[in-house]
Assembly symmetry: C2
Homo-oligomer: 459 residues x 2
């Protein structure tokens, strides 16, 4: 082997070998498989293609979703279509839908041909899921549910579960969803409760022998926002949640891994959006050029606002010429103003996202943030005023910077609360763009108040 | 009623009434109960205390953990100790531990007396959990597990589950953990698999009749970091994970809600830490004074670094006096430098937290961030250089700002990657303090390079 000295390559190969020879296909997580393949691709292309072909159906289908675009492209071009179709049929409906959607981004025609080869049941499921918007609970649900009619016995339901498990149609069930003859969700019985009943009882009898309301179901509407569903999971410590349509008919279920991914991804998106970074573009395998392009958009807006500040400063150029100390001190006003604003903004954005506050709490939030910024405004204005006075031995310069800082920090707190609340009101993601608007505001207020007060008081 | 016109109060009261009269104590989530009580406390203290007393044991115990400090204090002072003890005994071990820990923060003596009144089993459990560090998997686990010996029959295990459910000792089980005679975890059988077997089989027979390795358990060590456990949950789409000690002995389990809370809270902590905000202090019910104090620490550091920048500018005061255009343009260099750095920093901090990258990837990460910042550096340096040249009709001024921006943005990318990686290396949370260090660096480099180049080239 030509790369015998490459430890990383050998390790990746060993890990894949171990996984593929193991009987339980869980030695490596789908993400680990993709990582190992990534190393192979970088170090030894031949070996990489060999292993792409070696992947069993389950490993192929689960890791495909974790692969970077270029790797999935390799898969689409090198793995025979029949194997791809069979691999996708291994997945549960929500994962099938997600993977096909990803394939469509790379090769729309290929996605179509694969879709056409799937069995009718899978096709129907995928079409159902694709009817939902990205942020709707429906697009996250799995259509495979363990359900039973009220008049069935537990044994009949369990027999059906056995068939579903043996055919691999359902991966894991947490509860039995009991529906009436119209398919309307009536009760949810956790398996840890169901298992302790006599299996010859009907579902109805099980429910009636329990405490009233014990199996009253919690559920989400298919059109509910996934962010609200995530809050429901958190508030009630849920592990699974059935999804129904507006008539109450059981459609599917949302599992904890969906919520997990959502919570993690939406947090990343938020953190990134606050500094104008696109989470999707930043994934390891896109090039630096793509990332820098996407980041440049935000920097471009910043450039515009920075020039706005410059124009403000330019208005007062003669004042600065007379008092160069103003040029020395003015970044302090802008910097602390910006940071005070960022604190208020970040807290407001995050609390909105967590559902801690809503637009209706605007008054309370603005009042709180304004108070905080006023308290810190007066403290730091006083501190900076004293230092400026001592440094330049000019009492009125101290007064000017005190006033400017107090105004700027106070406004920064106000803006930090008002900007995200306003964006939220207009249904714009408060994390996107809010910090650019904020910095523009605090910079302009900071430079203007400082220089204008200086012209007025010092000249 | 004196507050008949207060809609908010009436609504809160109605919601509590409905919850308390419902047979299934899940009308309101624990968090909702705390929210409603908060409204009552603000609007009508008498009514508030009346409802505190009205809470049933379950509602009291689950909502206590969601209450702000002042409200839990009211509970401790007004609810008889016996009721408190009974309420805590309603909780599962991990929640008991968490609540007692919270009570300890408010009233250590009370916490001790309550602890002493708990039954011996609960005491033992709480002591076990309190032996772990905050970030260890052990401190998050629930000690109540559905387990069985290999030689027991499924029926015997199910009978025990029935008793556990009826006594309320276990809330929900996802799987049966099979242990050998020493208590060492051998297999995990999801209930949806267990339920389809003949209950007269022994666990060992069930395992042997399944595919080899089908029930091979995934587990966490009690001393594993909870952040690593969260990544495991994500990678393998887990819904529950048993926890074992270093000898493999089954201790407890981690449930999806624990991981949920961890993922959400650690994301909030990160977002807040990046702007110097303390997530615990920001909770709604602490006053503005406490929040402003905590935020002021970060602003204080920013003040120091801002003054550092001022000193740098001060060195070049005569240069600025000769060319006031420098004062007009210098915030542009600093602002874009800071933002370019923030982008690199934020991406690096987040990817470290998600486990996407580690210290060993430092070279790759630094190279990528440096490349991105160089690409944007040259673009924006060119743009700003041209505008400056046109605005002030001075070609060499354009050259100076071009060079300064290129240097600053390049360094910003480097610093944005290096600072969090270095903090991580020394086991310091990369989100804490990194942005203050970054801004100090980019400001100093920005102002210095711009003004020094100007003195050298323009004078």
């Amino acid at each position: 082997m030509e790369n015998i000295e490459n430890k990383e390559l050998l390790e990746a190969q060993n890990r894949l070998d171990e996984h593929l020879s193991s009987l339980n296909k869980e030695e490596l997580s789908p993400d680990d498989i993709a990582e190992c393949l990534k190393i192979l691709k970088k170090e030894d292309e031949d070996l990489y293609y060999k292993y792409l072909h070696k992947l069993d159906l389950e490993s192929l289908s689960t890791s495909a979703i974790e692969m970077p675009e270029h790797m999935l492209k390799d898969v689409l071009e090198n793995i025979p279509k029949e194997k791809l179709v069979n691999a996708i049929e291994e997945l549960e409906s929500d994962d099938q839908f997600e993977l096909l959607d990803y394939i469509k981004d790379i090769d729309e025609i290929k996605a179509k041909t694969i879709f056409n080869e799937l069995d009718d049941e899978d096709k129907k499921d995928i079409l159902k899921l694709s009817a939902y918007k990205d942020d709707e609970a429906g697009s996250y649900m799995q259509l495979e549910v363990f359900k039973a009619n009220l008049n069935e016995t537990v044994m009949e339901a369990v027999d059906r579960l056995r068939d579903l498990r043996h055919s691999g149609e359902i991966e894991m069930a947490y509860q039995l969803c009991a529906v009436d003859e119209k398919g309307i969700l009536k009760y949810c019985i956790p398996l840890s409760d169901l298992i302790i009943y006599n299996f010859s009882l009907t579902i109805d009898e099980v429910v009636k022998s329990a405490k009233p309301d014990a199996f009253k179901p919690k559920f989400a509407l298919d059109t509910d926002k996934i962010s609200d569903v995530a809050i429901l999971f958190q508030d009630f410590d849920l592990s699974v949640l059935p999804v129904v349509d507006k008539n109450g008919i059981l459609l599917g279920r949302i599992t904890p891994d969906d919520i997990h991914d959502f919570v993690r991804e939406s947090a990343t998106e938020q953190i990134y959006n606050l500094v104008g970074v696109d989470d999707e573009v930043e994934e390891d395998d896109y090039g630096a050029l793509k990332a820098s392009k996407s980041r440049a958009v935000w920097l471009g807006f910043n450039l515009i606002t920075a020039f706005l500040s410059s124009f403000i400063i330019g208005i007062f150029d003669s004042t600065i010429e007379s008092f160069v100390a103003l040029a020395v001190l003015m970044p302090i006003v802008a910097s602390l103003g910006g940071n005070t604003g960022s604190q208020a903004l970040t807290v407001t954005v995050r609390r909105l996202a967590l559902g801690d506050i809503e637009f209706k709490d605007a008054k309370k939030v603005i009042k709180k943030e304004f108070t905080i910024s006023l308290i810190n405004g007066i403290t730091f204005a006083f501190l900076v005023g004293i230092i400026a006075y001592i440094w330049f031995n000019k009492p009125m310069l101290g007064v000017v910077i005190f006033l400017a800082m107090f105004i700027t920090l106070g406004c920064a707190g106000l803006l930090g609360a008002i900007i995200p609340l306003t964006l939220k009101k207009f249904n714009i993601d408060p994390a996107v763009g809010s910090s650019v608007i904020l910095t523009a505001g605090t910079d302009i207020i900071g430079f203007f108040s400082f220089l204008a007060l200086a012209s007025w008081i010092l000249l």
